[in-house]
């Protein structure tokens, strides 16, 4: 690999964020390199979706910083950020297709908004991307007529229509059967190969994570448990990581005093 392959496209430094007064992310550090597939893992409530929203500059950090291509997101002007976002493709958990547009218009939407290309070119490009995700022939359907797997693939086609440098997936396997989900993983790897994109995937599906990841970051209650290659994570001797991998429920430590207090707080006559 060349030096450039190790260049970080996203660097997260000491990211702390709150939801109300609850701390969601606690001093998260992470860097994502050009061309790698980084999987963000963790149980529900671990803060993984929040981390993704920060990487997408949808949320503002309470403290710490996120650098995209070496520059702090907060320091980009609105216009610069918009230009930057043309280089990022995002596939949301439930697709987030525009319900008022058919599949082809959904895919063509970013091109129509951002480019001056001829409409023929735009339509050919959209159909090419639908071919890539194996949705050829479904151009005219509305999102409501699609199955869960088709929605995700259409959303993926829309995410790659501008030939982005970075691809983000929020729970690509959620709600899909194992076969469809494996197909989608294949597709993600194929795209990385052909388009040399950096890929960030948020998931709680172990199989999927191990299949596609170059590196995995495991979050637990807002803190980073481990960042490493698939093997490093599999062989980690951290108990919490192992619990997560073996789908074991965690033993909750009981503080008897505090527990009793929680149960009887604000009750009459106590």
């Amino acid at each position: 690999m060349t030096d450039q392959a190790f260049q970080a496209v996203i660097e997260v430094e000491d990211l702390v964020t709150y939801y109300g007064t609850r701390k969601i992310l606690d001093r998260v550090n992470l860097s994502i390199r050009q061309g790698e597939v980084m999987v963000i893992m963790g149980g529900s409530g671990s803060g993984k979706s929040t981390l993704l929203r920060h990487l997408l500059a949808l949320n503002k950090p309470a403290s710490g910083s996120i650098r995209l291509y070496g520059k702090d997101i907060g320091k980009y002007s609105t216009r610069e950020l918009q230009t930057l976002r043309k280089r990022m493709g995002v596939s949301f958990q439930n697709g987030a297709l525009f319900n008022s547009l058919n599949v082809e218009d959904n895919v063509a939407f970013p091109l129509r908004e951002h480019t001056q290309l001829d409409d023929n070119t735009i339509r050919i490009m959209s159909r090419m991307k639908l071919e890539v995700v194996n949705l050829a022939g479904f151009e005219e359907l509305m999102p409501a007529q699609l199955s869960g797997g088709m929605i995700k693939r259409a959303a993926l086609a829309r995410a790659i229509v501008m030939d982005p440098d970075m691809l983000f997936f929020d729970e690509p396997s959620a709600g899909l059967d194992p076969v469809v989900s494996a197909d989608l993983d294949e597709l993600i790897l194929k795209l990385r190969e052909a388009m040399q994109v950096s890929v960030v995937v948020v998931t709680h599906e172990l199989d999927s994570a191990f299949r596609i990841a170059d590196r995995i970051i495991v979050l637990d209650k807002g803190k980073v448990l481990i960042i490493g290659t698939v093997d490093e994570v599999k062989n980690s001797d951290n108990q919490r990581v192992q619990n997560l991998l073996n789908r074991r429920a965690e033993d909750v430590e009981v503080d008897p005093e505090a527990y009793l207090k929680r149960l009887t707080e604000n009750l009459a006559g106590l």
Partner: protein, 111 residues
């Protein structure tokens, strides 16, 4: 992006050079559609193309379809590795006639 158009052995050769991306592909499209007005046997030389994105490929697709409907020939020559992976992704390497060079095209018989 720059280009050079020449006539050689009965073919109209369009040599593209540099990056074919969102900003330059409209130019490629216009150039190709202009060339196709004379119903030539058109070869697009991609050997000097350092990068081609899907808008560039889409323009080639449109040109190919137009020349097909005119009954004239359209082929790509000197497709670089980078360009080939873009074509492969959408399985278009199975659609376009692709040759290594003009010489290889000539081996496949005359026009």
């Amino acid at each position: 992006m720059t280009y050079l158009v020449e006539e050689k052995d009965g073919f109209l050769l369009v040599h593209l050079e540099g990056d074919v991306d969102l900003s330059t592909s409209p130019e490629v499209r216009k150039l190709m559609l202009d060339c196709l007005r004379k119903k030539p046997q058109l070869l697009i030389d991609l050997s000097q193309v350092s990068y081609i994105d899907s808008s560039g490929v889409a323009s080639l697709v449109e040109g190919y379809q137009l020349s097909k409907s005119q009954g004239s020939e359209f082929a790509l020559i000197g497709v670089s590795e980078a360009a080939r992976s873009v074509l492969q992704l959408a399985r278009l390497d199975k659609v376009f006639p692709i040759y290594d060079s003009l010489a290889q095209r000539l081996q496949h018989g005359s026009i």
